[in-house]
């Protein structure tokens, strides 16, 4: 089994890659969701104002 805390010189490179991938994907997914919700709120607000 892969020794998580004992990878010698490769520790930084492997976990750096995985962490950067998960961080980028997580932030990007959250940003996409937030952008959609923002548009949704704007339209909801305009509908509420009109009615």
């Amino acid at each position: 089994m892969f020794e998580i805390f004992d990878m010698g010189p490769y520790n930084f490179y492997v976990w750096g890659s995985v962490a950067s991938a998960l961080l980028l994907m997580g932030v990007f997914a959250w940003r996409s969701y937030a952008q959609f919700q923002k548009i949704r709120q704007q339209i909801k607000w305009s509908v509420d104002v009109q009615s």
Partner: protein, 242 residues
């Protein structure tokens, strides 16, 4: 029959489909990535040459594969939008662009993190690396052009043409390792007929690629919905959905 298929090309139906698909695909992606990354990072055997450094493959190869796959999807969508003027293809192409740019950046970043311990350098002006960098610039150009056209209230025709022109780079990236002498290794995924990886290493890689693929569909669905809602904010059907 034509009418049956035609309804799926309507923006309203497409939005309904995306609303249903985004959370389902997102959950599938999360599950597959949890299994694939855990398997690949914790249980797959070490490589006899690269030792544990080879495990970068579980994020690098899916990112690189997706960067090419997403652009190919964008090119098909741009062609359909340009020739048949079907709006949903343009929304999907636009929603895909930023996801593709993110995966291209990730492929370059993880490639650099793999290159340093294996090649002794973060970057070389190698055919594969350089053509992948050009792909990132093409993605960014398309995103900027689309935003500029949107702000100028112009149709997205120029962005669709640019997407099709940029497609010439995709076969160059794919075959660069065959056409030129490169530091980068040959294709990993085209060796299924005679796999060069042990199944214990290959299966988690395939699961990770599936997880990245579902992530793309889920996030591109969110992005496409954002553009649909921006464009159709005044439509009655959309106001009923908020």
């Amino acid at each position: 029959m034509f009418r049956f298929f035609h309804q799926f090309l309507a923006v309203k139906t497409f939005d309904t489909l995306l609303a249903w698909a985004a959370p389902v695909l997102g959950a599938l992606s999360f599950a597959l990535l949890a299994v694939g990354l855990s398997w690949g990072l914790l249980f797959a055997p070490s490589d006899y040459q690269q030792l544990d450094a080879f495990r970068i493959i579980y994020v690098h190869v899916p990112s690189a594969f997706l960067s090419l796959f997403i652009y190919s999807v964008m090119a098909v969508c741009a062609l359909m939008a340009l020739v048949f003027h079907i709006k949903i293809f343009d929304y999907w192409a636009r929603g895909s662009a930023s996801v593709g740019a993110a995966f291209t950046f990730l492929a370059l970043l993880t490639g650099a993190l793999w290159g340093k311990p294996m090649w002794g350098t973060w970057w070389v002006w190698d055919a594969r690396l350089t053509s992948e960098l050009v792909l990132l610039f093409i993605y960014l150009g398309i995103i900027l052009l689309r935003n500029a056209l949107e702000q100028a209230n112009q149709p997205q025709t120029l962005a669709q043409i640019l997407t099709l022109v940029g497609f010439v780079n995709i076969p160059i990236i794919h075959f660069s390792v065959n056409w030129w002498f490169t530091l980068h290794q040959g294709a990993t995924l085209s060796k299924f007929a005679k796999p060069s990886m042990h199944p214990d290493m290959l299966w988690p890689l395939l699961i990770c690629i599936a997880g990245f693929m579902f992530y793309y569909f889920a996030v591109a669905a969110l992005q496409a919905r954002r553009f649909i809602w921006q464009k159709h904010a005044a439509d009655k059907w959309l106001k009923e959905r908020v």
